[in-house]
């Protein structure tokens, strides 16, 4: 089952790489019409990308052919592909949490975003852990990151909400 699933993923990924490469090749052809170049005998801006993308199409077609041949040979095995295995509930929720963290970082700022994300992510992966314990851990971790990166290394994090609070008081 595992091998069949992998072969189906190979088909999906190789088809994606072929489609993306064709799109990029078309984009390269379009851009090359307006690109600045010289009349001297040298490699143009688009020579290298065209070669890379063409090789990528050939190689991905190779992967596709091998995967399809394997699937054809083993079509009567009666194996079922566990295609949805990769969309494990915790993986999907972790990904959504990460996306939410990125958005929150932009909107509410680094400190608040990190504090909220750490609590959400930890509670999501281990619901049995007490919220109080997680909140303390999150607070300490966020404070440590702020001290190290913001105070010591002068990394400039955006803090729109904290800036408003600072102005108020």
């Amino acid at each position: 089952m595992k091998e069949r699933t992998q072969k189906i993923y190979e088909v999906i990924v190789s088809l994606f790489l072929i489609a993306a490469s064709i799109f990029m090749l078309l984009s390269a052809n379009e851009s090359s019409k307006t690109a600045w170049t010289t009349t001297t005998n040298e490699l143009s801006t688009w020579w290298f990308p065209r070669v890379i993308l063409s090789v990528m199409i050939v190689m991905s077609a190779g992967v596709l052919f091998i995967a399809l041949r394997w699937l054809y040979r083993h079509r009567k095995d009666g194996q079922k592909a566990g295609l949805w295995d990769m969309f494990h509930k915790k993986s999907v929720l972790t990904f959504l949490c990460m996306t939410g963290y990125a958005v929150l970082w932009r909107v509410a700022g680094f400190s608040i975003g990190t504090f909220v994300y750490f609590i959400t992510q930890t509670k999501l992966l281990d619901p049995s852990r007490s919220l109080k314990q997680i909140a303390v851990a999150s607070l300490l971790f966020t404070a440590l990151l702020m001290v190290v990166f913001s105070s010591m290394f002068r990394v400039s994090f955006n803090e729109p909400v904290l800036d408003i609070i600072r102005k108020l008081f």
Partner: protein, 510 residues
Amino acid sequence: MYDIGAIWNGVFAVLSDPVTLLTTIFGTFLGLTFGTLPGLTAIMGIALLIPLTYSLSPVAGVAMLIGVYIGGMSGGAISAILLNIPGTPSAVVTTFDGYPMAKKGQAAKAMGWAAFSSFFGTVFSWVILVFLSSYLAVICTSFSVFEYAALAFFGLTIVAAITSKNIFKSFSMLCLGLFLSIIGTDPLFGNMRFTFGNINLMGGLYITPVVIGLFSFPQILKTATEISGPRKLERVRIRDIMPSKKEIWQHKLPLLVTSAIGTVVGIIPATGQSIACFLSYSQCKKITKDPTPFGEGNPDGIIASEAANNSVCGGALVPLLTLGIPGDSVTAVLLGGLMIHGLQPGPSLFVEEFDFVVGIFTAMLIGAITMLIMNIFCIRFFTMIISAPNCYLVGGVVIVSMIGAYALHGNFFDVLVMFVIGILSYFLVKANYPLAPAVLGLVLGSMFERELRTALRMSNGSMMPFFTRPIPLVIIILGVVFFCFSMFRTIRDSFRDSKTEDGQESAEEG
């Protein structure tokens, strides 16, 4: 010849100055910490620490930066071994054998080999730096674009040695890496390539967010699905960590060869740790006497990676201090740090600021010893990181990875790049694509294209100079021979495996 008295004065000045000693130790610790945390690299540590060195003396300030450099190179192995996430881009190769060793319950041993190899590599390159720096730097001045293009070509042929059984997949990934490296402004004509009007893409993709996305993302999502709770903590004893004298003697050849490769690659400007690691790994396969297959926990795989990436440190300082040419991206930032302190690297530095040069050499050796001691005594602490419950580990790694992608340029677009590459990488891992060739393409792609096109412009489109100049010719021939040999071996193994599979199938049918 240098005055021995002046050398001793310089050494004594460093050893008797508590500020320089403390800054070196502090820098090494920070470097190890930065290297350990995925996404935070030595280059980032140096860039972030430069403002802190303003108030220090030049020797103390630069010693701290060199400490970060050495520690950062070594620290990458810790997360590579314990989490299968390379702490630095060059630690990718360490994951090949380090993580399998950790899975076998030999994490302490793997980290011990990583620490000792890093120390050995640093000291080896330090000896070369101190005694041969001026002679070796002269050789590199003769390199032109033809030699650099040939060198990049040789680097790309390494894909044949790190390829998986399905060569189509490896070459697809190499092309993906090469493609990512060419996004941005064309270095020769200034045309925009695949930027689609986005100004953030005009400067190209930075290596750090791409590497974090490639390696952290799939691992984070995989770890999230594993059962949360405290893991069984392997008992780590210091006598288990350090390889014995007998073991060191048995592995002397890989240690020496890979340190030499790393030092030479470091001396050649604009190459860097990643090339040294991949090159050493492929060479180490040929000289190993350990029966464990590579990729399944062979200590020589860790030695190859760690000795090479740390020996690049000393090698890269050779052209930096003697010629003012940075040997890699980290020394490029270090060059900025030197200039901030009013020092102009070059031949005159050895004459006008000899005390400073001796001070830096001494600080580097102190940094190497500190790194080894810290690696041994902090290993228990770092092993505790992997024993932490997944629920904390996942959140922590995500946050640190995102800071790593963001911090160096302070641009949120890099976080977005990490996300996009991460999603793609997740699917690639599920389809069993190897990721290392993508990193190889990403690191070498822009250099290869730039040098090749510049070379062809200089030769008016003729390839002949590559075959009439001795150094490029030798490098190209070596590359082709190496490529053909590795490909032959891969294809032969692949056919053997498919025959075995067919035999098993027909036996089952029979």
